[in-house]
Amino acid sequence: MFSTYLKGKIKKKKASRGESQEKQDLQPFKEKKLFEDLKRNIETVKTELGHSNDIVIREFRVGGNIQAAALFTDGLSDQVTLSDFVIKGLMHLQDEALSLEQNIGPEKIMQIVKEQLITFGDVQEVSDWEQLFKRMLSGSSILLFDGCDKAISAATKGGEQRGVTEPSTQTVIRGPREAFTESIRINTSLLRRIIKSPKLWLEERTIGEVTQTQVGIMYLKGIANEEIVQEVRDRLDRIQIDAILESGYIEELIQDEIWSPFPTVYNTERPDVTAGGLLEGRVAIIVDGTPFVLLVPVVLNSFLQSAEDYYQRFDLGSFLRLLRFASLFVALLFPSLYVAITTFHQEMLPTSLMLHLSAQREGVPFPPIIEALLMEIVFEVLREAGVRMPSAVGNTISIVGALVIGQAAVEAGIVAPAMVIVVSFTAIANFVIPAISLAIAVRLLRFGLLILSGTLGMFGVAVGLLVLVLHLASIRSFGIPYLSPFAPFMRNQQRDALFRFPQWAMDTRPPFISDDEDLVRQGNNQKPEKPQGDQSRHDGE
């Protein structure tokens, strides 16, 4: 019964959106009430779940003669909580509350149980099957009473979960060491621990017809732009899909630009980065089952910033940002410039460098463009192998890679040593980009520019860059121009863009993201000043 409902749902999605024909057939089940008969209810649960072995059904008696059953999923529910706070109480119900009244009905018992017996938080009444299954399969325990067409669901969520560990991406030298985990509840709590404000609002919804994945929208009321929050809600509500296995699914379904290599949604596994985003007025989308939290809206600049920029001194922060911008250009352009200059514009090289390069190229069988593509592909293969390899053989890969590429290829005269330098420096520069999603985009674009440079020289590179800039200028992320605050240029916002000004100078939130009602983020005169008065206190002694 339930399975046909699912099939219907998925088929409907495959057909076309907004089809209401089959929806009507499914409607009855969706609102189908529980039966009054306990046996029938239990039977339905068993059939619907195909007698799955991890569904535990514990039958017992309440108040002497009323049959009751506790249903829960083994492994998802905390059995200790269940037995201590629910079943124990129910079994002793006889002695206390019921002794006062005779012949009490199941409805009444349910109310007493709900109001007086279950000693912990989230307890709800469930009357239809859909709710019942959803709650049971997300870890709640269901209490059914004979003769009553409602059930009680008690949130006894528990079971094994990975603890909070150090982030494996976006690592910092100075800064918090915790990362998000796969559990949405731990993740929201990590954020709440950083921002203890009542303005931090969380909205949750379930997405994924089969996986029933919990997705949370978190934002700071009053700081986040209400229009953007609404846009996030709308886009999330539009999603109809069978499964959400990772926030990447959501990202692809809500992003602005489908055909752009550039990410318009930021993802991070760092709570402090997410909190920083929230404080700038961004909206966080937290998906159960993945440590990667999404942040929208986002501009290109955000992908080149690291949390550490703000934790280290501002001068170092600014230097590192400039370094990252430079690395971005190196990662994008270095091989193409090398190919363009050595095949078309040799006059641009200093004479001695040109002579060195031509000596190196003596006897190399391939033209530079082929050489570059070859080396780039070899590097990409090595890199992918390095990621997928079990870590035990990772070392082998790096040794073989370094030897094969660096040494043997040059000695065999297949490639020029300069090309190895170019490719490896490019690869390293690519790793400087703090956000992987942007690094991937750069990696792909590099190949396009390489081919342009190999065929059209510097002209090709210039055309490629022009197209790239035009494209970047045309992208928006949730209504925000992707190149802000550079284009449109915002003078005041340059304090936290290419450079990182001291904390006391960054006195407003970014107006292009935040709600512009309240942009001030610090008091006046936060710039520390030298203490007035007698400075020579110690000298006199």
Binding site: E347, M354, H356, A359, R361
Partner: protein
């Protein structure tokens, strides 16, 4: 829908084709190029030009490649033709690779050709987009350009680079010769208000053995190439080589002095040597009763390099003032001598005409045709202001004692 799709794919194919077919036409691979570092042009027979190129053998030059087998770092190729370009194309009969001129460093012109006239040599160099016009030009004094290009040089493996760096070194350290670029020459020929000068270079020793690698294997190479004074032209023809002193005179008037050495005789015996560390010349034409004269004003800073005068104390203001005055006089003398000489040859290498034109265009317009009569008689007025800054790390010279005894 399908029409639209077809059109779209058509545009896509056209774009791809335009990239893959249109691209690459001017592709030149590094390993298919012969980089020239020096270009020599000589007169061959009566009216033909002999062009010599000095081409780098990259594997011999690069320190990275160990593949060198003791062959020379450069090779020269020569060919003759009616014009420069025709001769260059003739060279392809001898070479396996395309000549690449963008990195050319010097142009050497044979004396014979220079005396006959260099006017038509630069047309190709200026017109061709691949050839730059910022390399230096020198005249091969008393010989052929081809001979200069055939001499091996120690330290700098590439003779072309050696000549190039040598020109700069002389300009920076002594001023007896200064760098003249092809573009300067072209500009000078183009204007009628100045005459060409360029450095000169000569081969000392045997040209035949100079081309052997054995030449540079010796501590004291038997054959060397050496820069000499400036070559002075009248029109497009070389008329005289100036000696070192007079060449420095040109440098002084032309504001080319960067650093040089002036020696001033003492009252009785010995000399004091002054190192000019900075010099700036302003040349202006001025008029007195309708007649032009040239006003040359030089501001220079100097250090005392050597004091070989008995009884002279370094650290006294009077001494400094005295030395500054004497240095000025010495410089003035040099300049006057040079200008007199040039006026005698009736060649306006300093651009006095240009200065007069700038100061008084109408005077120039009226008298341009009489310039040859006016120029030799133009008086000059030289003013040198020298400021002596430092005297080294010594006040009294140890030398003083020796002189006293």
């Amino acid at each position: 829908m399908t029409v639209n799709k077809m059109r779209r794919s058509f545009i896509l194919i056209m774009l791809l084709l335009s990239v893959s077919l249109g691209g690459c036409w001017d592709i030149r691979y590094l390993d298919e190029l012969s980089t020239t570092v020096a270009l020599g042009i000589d007169l061959s027979g009566n009216d033909e030009l002999q062009v010599t190129v000095q081409v780098v053998n990259p594997t011999e030059v690069s320190t990275a490649s160990k593949g060198g087998g003791g062959s020379s770092p450069v090779t020269t190729y020569s060919a003759t033709g009616k014009t420069v370009f025709e001769a260059i194309r003739q060279i392809s009969n001898e070479t396996s690779r395309r000549l690449f001129f963008s990195h050319n460093q010097v142009l050497v012109i044979g004396e014979e050709l220079a005396r006959k006239g260099v006017g038509d040599v630069f047309e190709f160099i200026e017109r061709d987009p691949e050839v730059r016009t910022d390399f230096y030009v020198v005249v091969a004094k008393g010989g052929k350009a081809a001979d200069v290009l055939k001499v091996t040089t120690p330290i700098e493996k590439i003779p072309g680079t050696k000549v190039h760096d040598n020109i700069e070194n002389v300009e920076n350290k002594s001023g007896t010769s200064f760098a003249v670029r092809v573009e300067d020459v072209i500009e000078t020929i183009g204007s009628d208000k100045k005459e060409i000068t360029m450095g000169s270079i000569e081969v000392i020793g045997n040209v035949e053995t100079g081309g052997d690698m054995k030449n540079v294997q010796k501590i004291d190479p038997q054959t060397i190439i050496k820069l000499d004074g400036m070559a002075v032209f009248k029109g497009e023809k070389l008329i005289q080589f100036f000696n070192a002193k007079r060449s420095r005179g040109i440098s002084w008037v032309d504001n080319k002095i960067k650093s040089t050495v002036v020696s001033v005789p003492c009252k009785n015996e010995g000399r004091t040597v002054i190192e000019i560390i900075h010099s700036s010349t302003k040349m202006k034409a001025k008029f007195q009763q309708g007649k032009p004269y040239i006003d040359i004003k030089i501001m220079q800073e100097a250090n005392i390099a050597e004091i070989l005068c008995p009884g002279m104390k370094g650290a006294a203001k009077a001494v400094f003032d005295q030395l500054a005055k004497e240095t000025g006089q010495e410089v003035t003398k040099e300049i006057t001598d040079t200008v007199t000489r040039a006026q005698k040859l009736n060649t306006d290498i300093f651009g006095f005409a240009d200065a007069i034109y700038k100061a008084n265009p109408s005077y120039w317009k009226k008298n341009r045709h009489n310039w040859d009569y006016i120029y030799p008689k133009i008086p000059i007025h030289v003013e040198v202001i020298t400021q002596i800054r430092r005297e080294g790390i010594r006040n009294k010279s140890y030398f003083e004692k020796i002189l006293r005894e």
